[in-house]
Symmetry: C2
Subunit: 241 residues, 2 copies
Amino acid sequence: MKVLIVEDDPLHRSYLHEAVNAALPECDTIVEAENGTEAERLARDHKSAHIVMDLQMQTRNGIEAARTIWKERPDTRILFWSNYSDEAYVRGVARIVPDGAAFGYVLKSASEERLKLALRSIFIEAQCVIDREVRGMQQKSLGQTKGVSDSEYEILIDIALGLTDRAIARRRNLSLRSVQNRLQQLYEKLDVYQSSSDEQDEGRFNLRARAVAVALLRKLLNYNALERAETELAEWLDIRN
Amino acid sequence: MKVLIVEDDPLHRSYLHEAVNAALPECDTIVEAENGTEAERLARDHKSAHIVMDLQMQTRNGIEAARTIWKERPDTRILFWSNYSDEAYVRGVARIVPDGAAFGYVLKSASEERLKLALRSIFIEAQCVIDREVRGMQQKSLGQTKGVSDSEYEILIDIALGLTDRAIARRRNLSLRSVQNRLQQLYEKLDVYQSSSDEQDEGRFNLRARAVAVALLRKLLNYNALERAETELAEWLDIRN
DNA sequence: ATAAATGGTGCGGGATCACGCAAGACGAAA
DNA sequence: TTTCGTCTTGCGTGATCCCGCACCATTTAT
Protein backbone atom coordinates (compact mmCIF):
# COMPACT_ATOMS: atom_id res chain seq x y z
CA MET A 1 0.00 0.00 0.00
CA LYS A 2 1.12 3.49 -0.87
CA VAL A 3 0.15 6.62 1.06
CA LEU A 4 0.47 10.21 -0.04
CA ILE A 5 0.86 12.84 2.65
CA VAL A 6 0.00 16.43 1.78
CA GLU A 7 0.84 19.02 4.39
CA ASP A 8 2.78 22.23 4.21
CA ASP A 9 3.98 22.42 7.78
CA PRO A 10 7.11 20.25 8.09
CA LEU A 11 6.41 19.47 11.73
CA HIS A 12 2.95 18.22 11.01
CA ARG A 13 4.21 16.41 7.98
CA SER A 14 6.68 14.36 9.93
CA TYR A 15 4.06 13.76 12.60
CA LEU A 16 1.72 12.38 9.97
CA HIS A 17 4.54 10.29 8.57
CA GLU A 18 5.07 8.62 11.91
CA ALA A 19 1.37 8.18 12.50
CA VAL A 20 0.93 6.49 9.15
CA ASN A 21 3.87 4.23 9.79
CA ALA A 22 2.53 3.25 13.17
CA ALA A 23 -1.08 2.80 12.16
CA LEU A 24 -0.56 1.08 8.82
CA PRO A 25 2.12 -1.59 8.85
CA GLU A 26 0.79 -2.71 5.45
CA CYS A 27 1.93 0.58 4.02
CA ASP A 28 5.25 0.16 2.25
CA THR A 29 5.81 3.57 0.67
CA ILE A 30 5.02 7.05 1.81
CA VAL A 31 5.17 10.01 -0.52
CA GLU A 32 5.06 13.56 0.70
CA ALA A 33 3.82 16.76 -0.89
CA GLU A 34 3.85 20.20 0.63
CA ASN A 35 1.16 21.89 -1.39
CA GLY A 36 -1.86 21.22 -3.52
CA THR A 37 -0.31 21.29 -6.97
CA GLU A 38 2.48 18.99 -5.95
CA ALA A 39 -0.16 16.69 -4.47
CA GLU A 40 -2.04 16.55 -7.75
CA ARG A 41 1.09 15.68 -9.64
CA LEU A 42 2.21 13.01 -7.20
CA ALA A 43 -1.26 11.51 -7.00
CA ARG A 44 -1.24 11.20 -10.77
CA ASP A 45 2.26 9.80 -11.02
CA HIS A 46 1.90 7.30 -8.22
CA LYS A 47 -1.73 6.49 -8.90
CA SER A 48 -2.20 7.08 -5.20
CA ALA A 49 -5.43 5.72 -3.87
CA HIS A 50 -4.70 6.71 -0.30
CA ILE A 51 -4.17 10.33 0.62
CA VAL A 52 -4.11 12.20 3.87
CA MET A 53 -3.96 15.93 3.52
CA ASP A 54 -4.26 19.27 5.18
CA LEU A 55 -7.03 21.57 4.05
CA GLN A 56 -5.36 24.92 4.45
CA MET A 57 -2.17 25.37 2.51
CA GLN A 58 -0.85 28.60 1.14
CA THR A 59 -0.18 27.84 -2.50
CA ARG A 60 -3.11 25.61 -3.39
CA ASN A 61 -5.52 24.46 -0.77
CA GLY A 62 -6.72 20.95 -0.07
CA ILE A 63 -10.18 21.34 -1.48
CA GLU A 64 -8.91 22.41 -4.88
CA ALA A 65 -6.41 19.59 -4.96
CA ALA A 66 -8.96 17.03 -3.82
CA ARG A 67 -11.37 18.09 -6.50
CA THR A 68 -8.95 17.53 -9.34
CA ILE A 69 -7.67 14.31 -7.82
CA TRP A 70 -11.16 12.93 -7.43
CA LYS A 71 -12.04 14.03 -10.93
CA GLU A 72 -9.26 11.89 -12.31
CA ARG A 73 -9.70 8.97 -9.94
CA PRO A 74 -13.01 9.05 -8.04
CA ASP A 75 -12.23 6.00 -5.91
CA THR A 76 -9.31 7.72 -4.21
CA ARG A 77 -9.65 7.68 -0.46
CA ILE A 78 -8.80 10.97 1.16
CA LEU A 79 -8.48 11.81 4.80
CA PHE A 80 -8.68 15.53 5.43
CA TRP A 81 -6.73 16.64 8.46
CA SER A 82 -7.67 20.14 9.41
CA ASN A 83 -7.25 22.68 12.13
CA TYR A 84 -10.80 23.94 11.95
CA SER A 85 -14.33 22.70 11.80
CA ASP A 86 -15.67 25.81 10.08
CA GLU A 87 -18.92 25.21 8.31
CA ALA A 88 -17.34 26.74 5.26
CA TYR A 89 -14.78 23.96 5.07
CA VAL A 90 -17.31 21.24 5.71
CA ARG A 91 -19.48 22.60 2.95
CA GLY A 92 -16.50 22.84 0.67
CA VAL A 93 -15.61 19.23 1.22
CA ALA A 94 -19.17 17.93 1.07
CA ARG A 95 -19.60 19.70 -2.23
CA ILE A 96 -16.83 17.83 -4.00
CA VAL A 97 -16.79 14.30 -2.62
CA PRO A 98 -17.90 11.85 -5.33
CA ASP A 99 -20.74 9.43 -4.68
CA GLY A 100 -19.59 6.38 -2.79
CA ALA A 101 -16.08 7.62 -2.24
CA ALA A 102 -14.52 6.96 1.13
CA PHE A 103 -13.20 10.00 2.88
CA GLY A 104 -12.55 11.32 6.32
CA TYR A 105 -12.34 14.57 8.21
CA VAL A 106 -10.46 14.68 11.47
CA LEU A 107 -9.29 17.67 13.39
CA LYS A 108 -5.67 18.30 14.21
CA SER A 109 -6.68 18.66 17.82
CA ALA A 110 -7.80 15.04 17.88
CA SER A 111 -5.68 12.52 19.76
CA GLU A 112 -3.09 10.49 17.95
CA GLU A 113 -5.18 7.41 18.69
CA ARG A 114 -8.13 8.91 16.89
CA LEU A 115 -6.01 9.79 13.91
CA LYS A 116 -4.62 6.28 13.64
CA LEU A 117 -8.07 4.78 13.94
CA ALA A 118 -9.34 7.03 11.20
CA LEU A 119 -6.42 6.07 8.99
CA ARG A 120 -7.23 2.37 9.31
CA SER A 121 -10.97 2.85 8.93
CA ILE A 122 -10.67 4.78 5.73
CA PHE A 123 -7.73 3.18 4.01
CA ILE A 124 -8.37 -0.42 5.04
CA GLU A 125 -12.10 -0.59 5.63
CA ALA A 126 -13.16 2.09 3.15
CA GLN A 127 -15.41 3.66 5.73
CA CYS A 128 -16.15 7.32 6.07
CA VAL A 129 -14.92 8.82 9.29
CA ILE A 130 -16.01 12.24 10.32
CA ASP A 131 -14.96 13.90 13.51
CA ARG A 132 -17.78 14.20 16.00
CA GLU A 133 -17.43 17.97 16.17
CA VAL A 134 -17.46 18.27 12.41
CA ARG A 135 -20.41 15.93 12.11
CA GLY A 136 -22.67 18.40 13.85
CA MET A 137 -21.77 20.98 11.26
CA GLN A 138 -22.46 18.66 8.40
CA GLN A 139 -25.90 17.68 9.64
CA LYS A 140 -26.76 21.28 10.08
CA SER A 141 -25.41 22.39 6.74
CA LEU A 142 -26.94 19.65 4.61
CA GLY A 143 -30.21 19.29 6.43
CA GLN A 144 -32.48 22.24 5.82
CA THR A 145 -33.66 22.22 9.42
CA LYS A 146 -31.99 25.16 11.05
CA GLY A 147 -28.96 26.13 9.08
CA VAL A 148 -28.62 28.03 5.87
CA SER A 149 -29.97 26.22 2.81
CA ASP A 150 -27.98 25.80 -0.37
CA SER A 151 -29.69 28.57 -2.26
CA GLU A 152 -29.22 30.89 0.68
CA TYR A 153 -25.60 29.92 0.92
CA GLU A 154 -25.21 30.64 -2.76
CA ILE A 155 -26.57 34.13 -2.43
CA LEU A 156 -24.51 34.69 0.69
CA ILE A 157 -21.41 34.05 -1.34
CA ASP A 158 -22.59 36.41 -4.03
CA ILE A 159 -23.10 39.32 -1.70
CA ALA A 160 -19.86 38.49 0.08
CA LEU A 161 -18.11 38.88 -3.26
CA GLY A 162 -19.73 42.27 -3.57
CA LEU A 163 -22.12 41.63 -6.42
CA THR A 164 -25.15 43.79 -7.02
CA ASP A 165 -28.64 42.36 -6.85
CA ARG A 166 -28.86 42.78 -10.56
CA ALA A 167 -25.55 41.05 -11.15
CA ILE A 168 -26.61 38.16 -8.95
CA ALA A 169 -29.84 37.88 -10.88
CA ARG A 170 -27.90 37.57 -14.11
CA ARG A 171 -25.45 35.12 -12.68
CA ARG A 172 -28.03 32.82 -11.15
CA ASN A 173 -30.66 33.31 -13.81
CA LEU A 174 -33.22 34.81 -11.51
CA SER A 175 -35.33 37.89 -11.52
CA LEU A 176 -34.25 40.81 -9.44
CA ARG A 177 -37.11 40.30 -7.04
CA SER A 178 -36.23 36.66 -6.45
CA VAL A 179 -32.73 37.62 -5.54
CA GLN A 180 -34.10 40.08 -3.03
CA ASN A 181 -36.42 37.44 -1.64
CA ARG A 182 -33.57 35.08 -1.03
CA LEU A 183 -31.65 37.88 0.54
CA GLN A 184 -34.45 38.42 3.00
CA GLN A 185 -34.53 34.73 3.84
CA LEU A 186 -30.83 34.90 4.44
CA TYR A 187 -31.18 37.93 6.65
CA GLU A 188 -33.70 36.11 8.79
CA LYS A 189 -31.59 32.99 9.06
CA LEU A 190 -28.58 35.01 10.06
CA ASP A 191 -30.57 36.99 12.56
CA VAL A 192 -29.46 40.26 11.15
CA TYR A 193 -32.50 42.15 12.36
CA GLN A 194 -31.82 41.40 16.01
CA SER A 195 -29.56 44.31 16.76
CA SER A 196 -30.96 46.82 14.32
CA SER A 197 -34.57 46.85 15.48
CA ASP A 198 -33.29 46.58 19.00
CA GLU A 199 -33.50 49.88 20.79
CA GLN A 200 -34.40 53.05 19.00
CA ASP A 201 -32.15 54.01 16.16
CA GLU A 202 -28.86 53.06 17.73
CA GLY A 203 -26.68 50.42 16.14
CA ARG A 204 -28.39 50.42 12.81
CA PHE A 205 -26.93 47.94 10.39
CA ASN A 206 -26.55 47.75 6.68
CA LEU A 207 -28.25 44.40 6.31
CA ARG A 208 -26.26 43.25 3.33
CA ALA A 209 -22.89 44.03 4.86
CA ARG A 210 -23.99 42.81 8.26
CA ALA A 211 -25.02 39.47 6.83
CA VAL A 212 -21.53 38.94 5.52
CA ALA A 213 -20.05 39.95 8.84
CA VAL A 214 -22.10 37.52 10.91
CA ALA A 215 -21.52 34.78 8.37
CA LEU A 216 -17.80 35.31 8.82
CA LEU A 217 -18.07 35.46 12.57
CA ARG A 218 -20.12 32.25 12.59
CA LYS A 219 -17.56 30.66 10.30
CA LEU A 220 -20.17 30.01 7.72
CA LEU A 221 -17.79 31.80 5.43
CA ASN A 222 -14.04 31.96 5.57
CA TYR A 223 -11.10 33.09 3.53
CA ASN A 224 -10.81 29.92 1.52
CA ALA A 225 -14.47 29.85 0.61
CA LEU A 226 -14.25 33.45 -0.49
CA GLU A 227 -11.13 32.81 -2.50
CA ARG A 228 -12.72 29.90 -4.33
CA ALA A 229 -15.83 31.92 -4.99
CA GLU A 230 -13.73 34.75 -6.35
CA THR A 231 -11.98 32.58 -8.91
CA GLU A 232 -15.30 31.05 -9.93
CA LEU A 233 -16.67 34.53 -10.40
CA ALA A 234 -13.68 35.52 -12.49
CA GLU A 235 -14.21 32.48 -14.71
CA TRP A 236 -17.86 33.30 -15.12
CA LEU A 237 -17.02 36.86 -16.04
CA ASP A 238 -14.53 35.64 -18.62
CA ILE A 239 -17.01 33.37 -20.30
CA ARG A 240 -19.65 35.98 -20.87
CA ASN A 241 -17.71 38.88 -22.30
CA MET B 1 16.20 33.81 32.66
CA LYS B 2 12.66 32.59 32.38
CA VAL B 3 10.80 32.12 29.11
CA LEU B 4 7.09 31.69 28.62
CA ILE B 5 5.95 29.78 25.54
CA VAL B 6 2.41 30.31 24.34
CA GLU B 7 1.25 28.04 21.55
CA ASP B 8 -1.80 25.84 21.21
CA ASP B 9 -0.40 23.26 18.86
CA PRO B 10 1.54 20.69 20.93
CA LEU B 11 3.90 19.94 18.06
CA HIS B 12 4.86 23.54 17.60
CA ARG B 13 5.03 23.99 21.33
CA SER B 14 7.64 21.30 21.76
CA TYR B 15 9.50 22.61 18.74
CA LEU B 16 9.64 26.03 20.37
CA HIS B 17 10.74 24.45 23.60
CA GLU B 18 13.71 22.86 21.91
CA ALA B 19 14.54 25.99 19.98
CA VAL B 20 14.55 28.08 23.15
CA ASN B 21 16.73 25.55 24.91
CA ALA B 22 19.17 25.49 22.06
CA ALA B 23 19.29 29.22 21.46
CA LEU B 24 19.27 30.44 25.03
CA PRO B 25 21.55 28.49 27.34
CA GLU B 26 21.06 31.29 29.88
CA CYS B 27 17.42 30.31 30.15
CA ASP B 28 16.86 28.14 33.19
CA THR B 29 13.10 27.72 33.25
CA ILE B 30 10.54 27.39 30.51
CA VAL B 31 6.84 27.74 31.18
CA GLU B 32 4.23 26.74 28.65
CA ALA B 33 0.71 27.96 28.02
CA GLU B 34 -1.66 26.73 25.37
CA ASN B 35 -3.97 29.69 25.04
CA GLY B 36 -4.18 33.41 25.65
CA THR B 37 -5.88 33.45 29.02
CA GLU B 38 -3.49 30.92 30.44
CA ALA B 39 -0.67 33.02 29.07
CA GLU B 40 -1.93 36.13 30.86
CA ARG B 41 -2.15 34.25 34.14
CA LEU B 42 1.27 32.68 33.83
CA ALA B 43 2.87 35.93 32.76
CA ARG B 44 1.44 37.56 35.85
CA ASP B 45 2.39 34.76 38.23
CA HIS B 46 5.89 34.33 36.91
CA LYS B 47 6.49 37.98 36.17
CA SER B 48 7.65 36.77 32.79
CA ALA B 49 9.63 39.31 30.89
CA HIS B 50 10.31 37.01 27.96
CA ILE B 51 7.49 35.54 25.95
CA VAL B 52 7.31 33.83 22.62
CA MET B 53 3.84 33.20 21.39
CA ASP B 54 1.62 32.23 18.55
CA LEU B 55 -0.82 34.78 17.22
CA GLN B 56 -3.73 32.59 16.24
CA MET B 57 -5.12 30.49 19.02
CA GLN B 58 -8.69 29.36 19.30
CA THR B 59 -9.68 30.37 22.81
CA ARG B 60 -7.96 33.72 23.12
CA ASN B 61 -5.66 34.98 20.46
CA GLY B 62 -2.18 36.33 20.88
CA ILE B 63 -2.99 39.96 20.27
CA GLU B 64 -5.55 40.07 23.06
CA ALA B 65 -3.18 38.35 25.42
CA ALA B 66 -0.27 40.56 24.48
CA ARG B 67 -2.31 43.66 25.06
CA THR B 68 -3.21 42.79 28.62
CA ILE B 69 0.28 41.53 29.35
CA TRP B 70 1.84 44.71 28.05
CA LYS B 71 -0.67 46.78 29.93
CA GLU B 72 0.48 45.22 33.19
CA ARG B 73 4.16 45.11 32.34
CA PRO B 74 5.14 47.28 29.37
CA ASP B 75 8.76 46.17 29.33
CA THR B 76 7.87 42.59 28.57
CA ARG B 77 9.61 41.30 25.49
CA ILE B 78 7.37 39.35 23.20
CA LEU B 79 8.28 37.40 20.11
CA PHE B 80 5.26 36.68 17.95
CA TRP B 81 5.56 33.50 15.98
CA SER B 82 2.92 33.35 13.33
CA ASN B 83 1.88 31.41 10.29
CA TYR B 84 0.81 34.42 8.33
CA SER B 85 2.02 37.84 7.37
CA ASP B 86 -1.49 39.22 6.82
CA GLU B 87 -1.59 42.97 7.01
CA ALA B 88 -4.42 42.60 9.46
CA TYR B 89 -2.14 40.85 11.94
CA VAL B 90 0.69 43.29 11.45
CA ARG B 91 -1.66 46.17 12.08
CA GLY B 92 -3.07 44.44 15.11
CA VAL B 93 0.38 44.03 16.62
CA ALA B 94 1.63 47.48 15.68
CA ARG B 95 -1.44 48.95 17.32
CA ILE B 96 -0.69 47.52 20.75
CA VAL B 97 3.07 47.51 21.17
CA PRO B 98 4.08 50.05 23.86
CA ASP B 99 6.67 52.70 23.12
CA GLY B 100 10.16 51.40 23.46
CA ALA B 101 9.15 47.81 24.05
CA ALA B 102 11.19 45.12 22.36
CA PHE B 103 9.21 42.71 20.28
CA GLY B 104 9.59 40.47 17.29
CA TYR B 105 7.54 38.97 14.53
CA VAL B 106 8.84 35.89 12.76
CA LEU B 107 6.97 33.54 10.50
CA LYS B 108 6.65 29.86 11.23
CA SER B 109 7.98 29.21 7.79
CA ALA B 110 11.29 30.80 8.75
CA SER B 111 14.30 28.56 9.27
CA GLU B 112 15.19 27.33 12.72
CA GLU B 113 18.32 29.42 12.51
CA ARG B 114 16.32 32.54 11.96
CA LEU B 115 14.08 31.75 14.89
CA LYS B 116 17.03 31.20 17.22
CA LEU B 117 18.66 34.41 16.08
CA ALA B 118 15.46 36.30 16.72
CA LEU B 119 15.17 34.78 20.18
CA ARG B 120 18.65 35.98 21.11
CA SER B 121 18.24 39.39 19.55
CA ILE B 122 15.05 40.14 21.37
CA PHE B 123 15.57 38.49 24.73
CA ILE B 124 19.26 39.24 25.15
CA GLU B 125 19.84 42.36 23.11
CA ALA B 126 16.38 43.89 23.45
CA GLN B 127 16.27 44.54 19.74
CA CYS B 128 13.20 44.47 17.59
CA VAL B 129 13.28 41.78 14.97
CA ILE B 130 10.74 41.72 12.21
CA ASP B 131 10.64 39.19 9.47
CA ARG B 132 11.64 40.62 6.13
CA GLU B 133 8.38 39.57 4.54
CA VAL B 134 6.40 41.12 7.35
CA ARG B 135 8.46 44.25 7.26
CA GLY B 136 7.19 45.08 3.83
CA MET B 137 3.66 44.94 5.15
CA GLN B 138 4.46 47.18 8.05
CA GLN B 139 6.07 49.84 5.94
CA LYS B 140 3.13 49.80 3.63
CA SER B 141 0.57 49.88 6.37
CA LEU B 142 2.13 52.61 8.51
CA GLY B 143 3.49 54.76 5.74
CA GLN B 144 0.70 56.55 3.91
CA THR B 145 2.43 56.03 0.57
CA LYS B 146 0.42 53.34 -1.15
CA GLY B 147 -1.46 51.39 1.43
CA VAL B 148 -4.59 52.16 3.35
CA SER B 149 -4.30 54.94 5.91
CA ASP B 150 -5.47 54.60 9.47
CA SER B 151 -8.69 56.48 9.00
CA GLU B 152 -9.46 54.46 5.92
CA TYR B 153 -8.71 51.29 7.78
CA GLU B 154 -11.03 52.38 10.51
CA ILE B 155 -13.91 52.91 8.16
CA LEU B 156 -13.11 49.67 6.40
CA ILE B 157 -13.64 47.86 9.67
CA ASP B 158 -16.88 49.68 10.24
CA ILE B 159 -18.41 48.69 6.94
CA ALA B 160 -17.05 45.18 7.37
CA LEU B 161 -19.00 44.98 10.60
CA GLY B 162 -22.07 46.03 8.67
CA LEU B 163 -22.63 49.48 10.09
CA THR B 164 -24.63 52.11 8.26
CA ASP B 165 -23.08 55.36 7.15
CA ARG B 166 -25.11 57.09 9.79
CA ALA B 167 -24.04 54.66 12.47
CA ILE B 168 -20.41 55.11 11.52
CA ALA B 169 -20.85 58.87 11.69
CA ARG B 170 -22.15 58.58 15.23
CA ARG B 171 -19.47 56.15 16.26
CA ARG B 172 -16.58 58.14 14.88
CA ASN B 173 -18.04 61.57 15.58
CA LEU B 174 -18.17 62.63 11.99
CA SER B 175 -20.80 64.05 9.73
CA LEU B 176 -22.52 61.74 7.33
CA ARG B 177 -20.80 63.34 4.39
CA SER B 178 -17.37 62.87 5.88
CA VAL B 179 -18.03 59.21 6.32
CA GLN B 180 -18.99 58.96 2.70
CA ASN B 181 -15.88 60.87 1.72
CA ARG B 182 -13.69 58.41 3.53
CA LEU B 183 -15.58 55.59 1.96
CA GLN B 184 -14.78 56.95 -1.47
CA GLN B 185 -11.13 57.23 -0.58
CA LEU B 186 -11.22 53.64 0.54
CA TYR B 187 -12.91 52.54 -2.66
CA GLU B 188 -10.17 54.15 -4.69
CA LYS B 189 -7.41 52.64 -2.62
CA LEU B 190 -8.93 49.22 -2.89
CA ASP B 191 -9.41 49.64 -6.60
CA VAL B 192 -13.04 48.72 -6.40
CA TYR B 193 -13.98 50.62 -9.52
CA GLN B 194 -11.71 48.60 -11.75
CA SER B 195 -14.11 45.80 -12.52
CA SER B 196 -17.33 47.73 -12.33
CA SER B 197 -16.64 50.47 -14.82
CA ASP B 198 -14.86 47.93 -16.95
CA GLU B 199 -17.03 46.86 -19.83
CA GLN B 200 -20.60 47.94 -20.18
CA ASP B 201 -22.90 46.88 -17.42
CA GLU B 202 -21.47 43.45 -16.79
CA GLY B 203 -19.98 42.57 -13.43
CA ARG B 204 -21.40 45.48 -11.56
CA PHE B 205 -20.36 45.57 -7.94
CA ASN B 206 -21.90 46.85 -4.78
CA LEU B 207 -18.97 49.04 -3.83
CA ARG B 208 -19.42 48.72 -0.09
CA ALA B 209 -19.63 44.95 -0.12
CA ARG B 210 -16.94 44.67 -2.75
CA ALA B 211 -14.56 46.73 -0.67
CA VAL B 212 -14.89 44.27 2.18
CA ALA B 213 -14.39 41.37 -0.20
CA VAL B 214 -11.18 42.70 -1.71
CA ALA B 215 -9.91 43.69 1.72
CA LEU B 216 -10.41 40.12 2.82
CA LEU B 217 -8.82 38.72 -0.30
CA ARG B 218 -5.85 41.04 0.12
CA LYS B 219 -5.60 39.99 3.75
CA LEU B 220 -6.04 43.53 4.86
CA LEU B 221 -8.79 42.10 6.98
CA ASN B 222 -9.09 38.67 8.48
CA TYR B 223 -11.18 36.74 10.90
CA ASN B 224 -9.29 37.87 13.97
CA ALA B 225 -9.45 41.52 13.08
CA LEU B 226 -13.15 41.22 12.50
CA GLU B 227 -13.66 39.40 15.75
CA ARG B 228 -11.80 42.05 17.70
CA ALA B 229 -13.72 44.80 15.96
CA GLU B 230 -16.98 43.06 16.76
CA THR B 231 -16.29 42.95 20.48
CA GLU B 232 -15.19 46.58 20.42
CA LEU B 233 -18.42 47.45 18.71
CA ALA B 234 -20.40 45.53 21.28
CA GLU B 235 -18.66 47.44 24.07
CA TRP B 236 -19.37 50.73 22.39
CA LEU B 237 -23.00 49.83 22.00
CA ASP B 238 -23.21 48.89 25.67
CA ILE B 239 -21.79 52.17 26.82
CA ARG B 240 -24.22 54.35 24.97
CA ASN B 241 -27.56 52.77 25.75
C1' DA C 1 2.29 85.89 3.29
C1' DT C 2 0.11 83.87 -0.29
C1' DA C 3 -0.78 79.51 -2.31
C1' DA C 4 -1.64 74.79 -2.48
C1' DA C 5 -2.98 70.59 -0.21
C1' DT C 6 -5.71 68.12 3.22
C1' DG C 7 -9.84 66.99 5.76
C1' DG C 8 -14.65 68.07 7.36
C1' DT C 9 -19.41 69.60 6.13
C1' DG C 10 -23.88 70.79 3.52
C1' DC C 11 -26.95 70.16 -0.57
C1' DG C 12 -28.98 67.51 -4.02
C1' DG C 13 -29.91 63.89 -7.15
C1' DG C 14 -29.71 59.38 -9.48
C1' DA C 15 -29.06 54.49 -8.41
C1' DT C 16 -29.61 50.75 -5.48
C1' DC C 17 -31.49 48.38 -1.68
C1' DA C 18 -35.07 46.54 1.53
C1' DC C 19 -39.50 44.97 1.49
C1' DG C 20 -44.86 44.90 1.63
C1' DC C 21 -48.48 43.39 -1.46
C1' DA C 22 -50.14 40.22 -4.76
C1' DA C 23 -50.48 37.11 -8.61
C1' DG C 24 -49.07 32.90 -11.18
C1' DA C 25 -46.35 28.05 -11.22
C1' DC C 26 -45.43 23.71 -9.42
C1' DG C 27 -45.33 19.73 -6.50
C1' DA C 28 -47.17 17.51 -2.23
C1' DA C 29 -50.75 16.30 0.77
C1' DA C 30 -55.71 15.48 1.42
C1' DT D 1 -59.28 17.33 -7.91
C1' DT D 2 -58.67 20.49 -4.50
C1' DT D 3 -55.84 22.71 -1.44
C1' DC D 4 -51.77 24.03 0.72
C1' DG D 5 -46.95 25.42 0.86
C1' DT D 6 -42.93 26.89 -1.48
C1' DC D 7 -40.79 29.39 -5.18
C1' DT D 8 -40.70 32.95 -8.61
C1' DT D 9 -41.88 37.31 -10.43
C1' DG D 10 -43.81 42.17 -11.01
C1' DC D 11 -45.00 46.78 -9.08
C1' DG D 12 -44.24 50.45 -6.03
C1' DT D 13 -42.22 53.04 -2.09
C1' DG D 14 -39.32 54.80 1.37
C1' DA D 15 -34.64 54.47 3.07
C1' DT D 16 -29.90 54.26 2.04
C1' DC D 17 -25.96 54.66 -0.73
C1' DC D 18 -22.74 56.82 -4.11
C1' DC D 19 -20.96 60.94 -5.41
C1' DG D 20 -20.47 65.62 -7.92
C1' DC D 21 -20.36 70.47 -6.66
C1' DA D 22 -19.40 73.74 -3.63
C1' DC D 23 -17.56 76.13 0.98
C1' DC D 24 -14.63 76.44 4.92
C1' DA D 25 -10.82 75.46 8.33
C1' DT D 26 -5.92 73.83 9.12
C1' DT D 27 -1.51 72.64 7.60
C1' DT D 28 2.16 72.68 4.65
C1' DA D 29 4.81 74.45 0.96
C1' DT D 30 6.75 78.19 -1.85
